[in-house]
Symmetry: C2
Subunit: 381 residues, 2 copies
């Protein structure tokens, strides 16, 4: 068996077709879109086509799509940009957001309400309504969680905010980090009723270095980076045509039926683990969950030890989100759904993707039980 990759939530390989379409942008079609000559205009054309593709996917206008170098920068531009020049702003978010949302909020002057997600890992939309105050400027709720895969009711929250905004002069801005959702969930911005939406290229089989921020027209936003006027001034600097074009092509490859196949494989893993390995638990609700996410706690086996042992068998899984996996503190997401610190350390994340096969799942389910048994013996539990 070749190396098996079960960490698609961390990053994805670039789709073969996408890679083939964008490699010419390295040596041949290398122009700077700000140049008026033929080389430059060829780059403008590629950028326009990519923007069209992103706009189409989200049901947005092309002028509402801002290319970004990463979802983290997009979230910073969204959050810092929405909060700037606001007096004593209040923000509503959830307790299980990605660091790229939590950290910009923590480093702002905003008062922040963190909504609970209960043991299911899902917020209740009525909690959003209760949390909104007179000075609420922004609501930022991730669409699907990167660690436990739970899906938040973005459209319903959008409706609540829309209704609230009817009564207000200073409208509340609604942002969602949809990085993990784009592959699998409906993403039309008018259905979701969001003003700002973040998505990333390298989570959808596009290249790293490309992301996009949807900014609904007339959303009051100030830029946080300054330079020439590219990307409406929100991401100034020479456009990464190679990567932005790749993001556009990658979106065109997303197919709904990816989801069904992946869900079947995911369910095989969940059912097997819960049935065949005693004292295991699925973290986060099973129903409102991404079709590619498995997150389990294995009593008596450290998540990191499991990950390392599986890596020895050439199976790549994760203990939490990749961005947190270098850190020794337990996952704030798992603590938020009620796990003890010890159990939060014990979790394992398996995320499947477009290239996952039945054979890979078979191999994994063959290797996992003896590894768990061995680790439990070592830990004496």
């Amino acid at each position: 068996m070749e190396k098996i990759y079960f960490d698609y939530a961390a990053t994805t390989p670039v789709d073969k077709g996408v890679a083939e379409k964008i490699t010419p942008f390295l040596e041949e079609k290398f122009g700077n879109p700000s140049s008026l000559h033929a080389f430059g205009q060829e780059a403008v054309f590629a950028l326009d086509r990519a923007r069209e593709s992103v706009a189409r996917f989200f049901g947005a206008k092309e002028r509402e799509i801002i290319f970004m170098p990463s979802a983290t920068v997009a979230n910073n531009v969204a959050i810092q940009g929405a909060l700037q020049k606001k007096e004593k702003p209040h923000v509503v978010t959830s307790a299980i957001e990605h660091k790229a949302v939590i950290e910009p909020l923590k480093n702002s002057s905003a008062e922040v309400t963190y909504l609970p997600v209960y043991k299911e890992g899902v917020i209740k939309e009525e909690d959003v309504k209760k949390a909104i105050k007179e000075n609420t400027v922004l609501v930022s709720i991730g669409y699907a969680n990167s660690e436990i895969g739970t899906i938040q009711p973005i459209g319903k929250i959008g409706k609540i905010i829309e209704k609230e905004n009817e009564k207000r002069r200073n409208k509340i801005i609604f942002h969602t980090d949809a990085v993990q959702a784009v592959n699998y969930l409906p993403c039309k911005v008018d259905k979701l009723k969001v003003d700002l939406l973040t998505m990333s290229g390298h989570k959808i089989y596009g290249p790293k270095g490309a992301a996009a921020l949807y900014v609904r027209e007339k959303t009051p936003m100030s830029p946080i980076l300054f330079g020439a006027s590219q990307e409406k001034g929100f991401y100034p600097g020479t456009e990464n045509v190679f990567a932005f074009a790749g993001l556009g092509f990658a979106l065109e490859e997303i197919k709904k039926n990816d989801s069904e196949e992946t869900k079947k494989l995911r369910d095989r893993i969940i059912d097997f683990v819960l049935k065949e390995i005693p004292e295991t638990k699925l973290n986060g609700e099973r129903e409102r969950r991404l079709p590619n996410n498995v997150n389990i706690t294995v009593e008596g086996a450290e998540g990191e030890s499991l990950m390392m042992a599986l890596d020895n068998e050439k199976i790549a899984v994760s203990t939490g989100s990749a961005c947190a996996s270098n850190s020794l503190s337990p996952s704030h997401v798992l603590l938020s759904i009620g796990l003890s610190r010890e159990r939060a350390h014990g979790s394992l994340r398996i995320t499947l993707g477009r290239y996952t096969t039945e054979e890979e799942v078979d191999y994994f389910l063959e290797k996992l039980p003896p590894i768990v048994e061995r680790l439990r013996k070592i830990s004496g539990k």
Copy 2:
């Protein structure tokens, strides 16, 4: 004759060898460096190797190199980061900086002194000394100008600041945007005596989407983007391994003798134009100038018309810096060296590079005179 590219200051094609080395990072070696499994560690290895290469080139320590998505972001992190948490800061810069330096300064609360560059396009280091005040926090001077190619005496300015800092408790931070210099000029940070240095991948035959900021140890800086802790917290988010690796490989390909060949070709163009086409003028001093830059004013012919006419002959040149070429206002750089608004509109920038051949220069010098003559007839001058 194939299409001729004489706009290397705007962007460069990716070197063939570099492109070959990095394409495997798209589909095969696609891991997220934050992942602890084999895929992730392969990415960490590539990133480490790239950082080593950047550090070696600049004579810096690896921990002083911060990867960035673009020089514009690097300049924002440098400037905003150095000014944050400072009371009533004062900054010294030059009148001919790139927008990626001017705009972060304009959008800060800092008081800014813009040093003159005289008709030569070069600042006098004694002017820096005179401009420094008690509350000066930052001096930011570009190493080589993107439009007229003039070279600033960075090492000498560095010495002045070093001497000044001996007397001060709050040290002045010295930043240089070296984007245009890296291909041709000595760049050891200890010789230049800079604390912060910005460089860009796509100007040195590396990919777009990669840049680096050198940050001397102990330089007091605050981050402006927040998320997970990648790049020491100054550029959080999943690293663009493909592009950062490419930046490292591209630096390894820079050879000093590139410079001599290019200079000969540049001098042929300058000599021909000044001698054979009446009423032409070289903008910016000839001696302290990048070996690849020609910037001329052609009396009675609009720069944009010349550019378009040359584009029709498949020769790509520029009217100013690419980032300003979409704008209709005359170049602030040319105004700063004393050109009238009208003449500033009339300038043409020809920037040569690694793949420029004698045949290309011949072809250009054959096509240029009749184009100038034709445009002069049309304009009646």
